[in-house]
């Protein structure tokens, strides 16, 4: 059964690179958070792992409200070519992550193979998103993906509730900052060449 969240993580991380509509991205992010909570529950009691899910869903809620309230952004001109490029980049990075995730690359003791693989996938795809995008929403989703991968492994070695709560506050904080940048600040004047 534990391969289900792993597959979901791989699918959502790739979809987040390719999909362009902000509303759909946030929906995918919510699914990704659920998968991460599932994988975290392999090492932590489910009620503790649920903290991640709740924090993640709060972050998604904030982002969804922001997208609903913000002015519609100018259509990005990536088109099919841009999406194809990002899909190919995503597949290549995914292949590398699958290779790295075969072994316990973080040398975390007692970690399940599914968890270490998911950590590799999320961290790699998070870095890819950070390299590709400049838009605040997509950058924040990149950071969230990266952090989620790290947290799957870190929760095995540091299951303290205080740390879990602090890391959860990082996700909510990121969503608030992006919401602020999207609603209060003027949009950047940089053309999103890569999107």
């Amino acid at each position: 059964m534990n391969w289900i969240p792993l597959l979901l993580v791989a699918a959502t991380a790739t979809a987040l690179v390719v999909v362009e509509r902000p509303g759909i991205q946030i929906g995918i992010l919510a699914i990704q958070y659920s998968s991460v909570a599932w994988l975290t529950s392999l090492a932590l009691p489910p009620q503790v792992a649920a903290v991640k899910l709740v924090a993640g869903l709060i972050a998604c809620g904030i982002l969804a409200l922001t997208v609903a309230k913000s002015r519609p952004a100018a259509e990005s001109a990536s088109g099919i070519a841009g999406r194809a490029f990002r899909a190919i980049a995503g597949i290549l990075i995914m292949a590398a992550a699958l290779g790295i995730g075969q072994s316990n690359w973080m040398r975390v003791p007692d970690i399940r193979p599914e968890a270490i693989m998911a950590a590799a996938i999320l961290m790699s795809m998070g870095l890819l998103q950070l390299g590709l995008f400049r838009n605040p929403l997509r950058v924040s989703i990149g950071i969230i993906t990266l952090l989620s991968g790290f947290e799957i492994a870190y929760s095995v070695i540091e299951p303290a509730l205080a740390i879990l709560a602090l890391l959860a506050s990082v996700h909510i904080g990121l969503a608030i900052v992006v919401s602020y940048l999207s609603l209060e600040a003027e949009p950047p004047d940089v053309v999103e060449g890569s999107e």
Partner: protein, 459 residues
């Protein structure tokens, strides 16, 4: 009652109050400036964990506050750093109204200071990385006030601090649970590399400094100076705590060599890019890098007085950068154009003297500590000495070039670009800069208190 809880409540009240007053031009700055100063003095001098009588009421303030099973402790080790941050806040909030850095400056600044205080007081201190990440988020609010253009550089700051957080948290686990010592060389190397990644980000070591110059010419210089000072100072305190706490790390020659190499790189890179800059706000970002590089040389030098000099440099950097920021923020109305010095002579002079002080030129606040370092560096560190002297001379040349550019004759005449509050603020900071240049011992009580909290690094 515990002191950290009291500070937390006070900051929360102040944040709410200043948010309510954010449309006023003077009141939030004055309120935050005075309160932040009082909190700073309280942190530095209040008697903790002992019975006292306040207006006849018996009182005992505990130094520790437990939250979710983790204590926030205001130990002697942390008090100088936390007090320093609030005094920096007091200075920047107090003078901020003169240059109008934006409505989010005060509440965002208070949140950032509270989180950085949390970073310095949380036990075990390795969890500070999460507070630093949260503080970086608050700094984004300071850099991009409502209505300003969203800048990629601010997002880069978040990306970098997220990476630093992950590296330091993972290292923390290795140090606390795996038992890394000098007799476990493979693990020790892993820790050094991971910690190195975290600290190069926290201390703006190239190429992880790129968020700073990329927004230097787009955001208010005053906001940028505040953010750079509080984040970098916290990073420096954090580094010194690591060195103080782990004997094997202090003894490992690779660590001191890496710190010195990073310092040398920052001096060379910061100086060379600063002298070739065509943007005045950006030049300060690079001179700041060179200045931080000198601090790292001091820390990595192995001198018994090295840490003390690094602390002194951290303290006077506030004055130098505040002077530059005040001048530069007022000058921004001139567009930093040729002849700007004739339109805004006080502000321009302030900005230029601030740069000279950051570069450690004689008669300014930055000089005595650099002189102490140059005086103490041994024969073996001649290369570092040459780098520092080269940096000072090169930046002096660059500042002279900018002085000629701004005060070139035959251009615009003086008009009302300079407002009297900003002129007064520049004059105050210029006075402080010169005073600390002539009487560096004024900063030594704080340096002594900071060193008392680092017993293993104390001369």
């Amino acid at each position: 009652m515990s002191a950290p809880a009291l500070i937390f409540v006070l900051i929360s009240v102040l944040v709410v109050a200043t948010l309510g007053l954010r449309r006023r031009s003077f009141l939030p700055f004055a309120l935050a400036g005075v309160s932040s100063g009082l909190i700073g003095l309280f942190v530095l001098y209040a008697p903790l964990d002992q019975a006292i009588s306040l207006l006849g009421i018996p009182l005992r303030l505990a130094s520790s506050w437990e939250i979710l099973g983790r204590p926030l402790s205001l130990d002697p080790q942390d008090r100088a750093g936390v007090g320093f941050l609030f005094l920096v806040g007091s200075l920047f909030f107090g003078l901020g109204w003169a240059v109008a850095p934006g409505r989010s400056f005060v509440p965002g600044g208070l949140i950032a200071l509270g989180l950085l205080a949390g970073a310095l007081t949380v036990e075990p201190f390795l969890f500070a990385a999460i507070f630093l990440e949260l503080a970086a988020m608050a700094c984004v609010l300071i850099l991009i006030p409502p209505g300003a253009r969203s800048e990629r550089g601010a997002l880069n700051l978040l990306v970098l601090y997220s990476m630093a957080m992950m590296a330091i948290l993972f290292t923390g686990w290795l140090l606390e649970n795996v038992g890394v010592t000098s007799v476990t060389p493979e693990l020790a190397l892993r820790v050094i590399l991971l910690l190195g990644l975290g600290f190069v980000i926290l201390l703006f070591v190239p190429p992880f400094h790129y968020w700073l110059p990329s927004i230097a010419h787009r955001v208010n210089p005053y906001s940028l100076a505040f953010v750079a000072i509080i984040l970098q100072s916290s990073g420096m305190f954090f580094l010194l705590r690591f060195l103080d706490n782990f004997a094997w790390m202090r003894a490992d020659p690779r660590v001191s060599a890496a710190i010195q190499a990073a310092g040398g790189l920052m001096i060379v890179y910061g100086t060379l890019v600063a002298v070739t800059q065509t943007s005045f706000p950006k030049i300060a970002a690079y001179v700041l890098l060179a200045d931080i590089g000198v601090s790292l040389i001091a820390v990595g030098s192995g001198l018994t007085i090295g840490t003390e000099i690094a602390m002194g440099l951290t303290g006077v950097r506030v004055i130098s950068l505040a002077l530059w920021a005040l001048g530069s923020a007022s000058m921004s109305r001139t567009g930093y154009a040729r002849g700007a010095g004739r339109k805004a002579p006080f502000s321009t002079a302030g900005g230029l003297v601030g740069l000279l002080s950051l570069a450690g030129l004689p008669l300014t606040a930055g000089f005595p500590w650099r002189w102490a370092l140059l005086d103490n560096l041994s024969e073996g560190s001649r290369f570092s000495m040459l780098l520092m002297i080269f940096s000072m001379l090169a930046i002096l040349w660059a500042v002279l070039r900018w002085t000629h550019f701004f005060f070139e004759s035959g251009t615009t005449e003086r008009d009302d670009v300079e407002k009297s509050p900003s002129t007064l603020a520049v004059a105050l900071m210029a006075g402080a800069c010169l005073l600390l240049g002539f009487f560096p011992q004024l900063a030594t009580p704080w340096v002594a208190q900071a060193m008392a909290g680092l017993p293993n690094l104390k001369p």
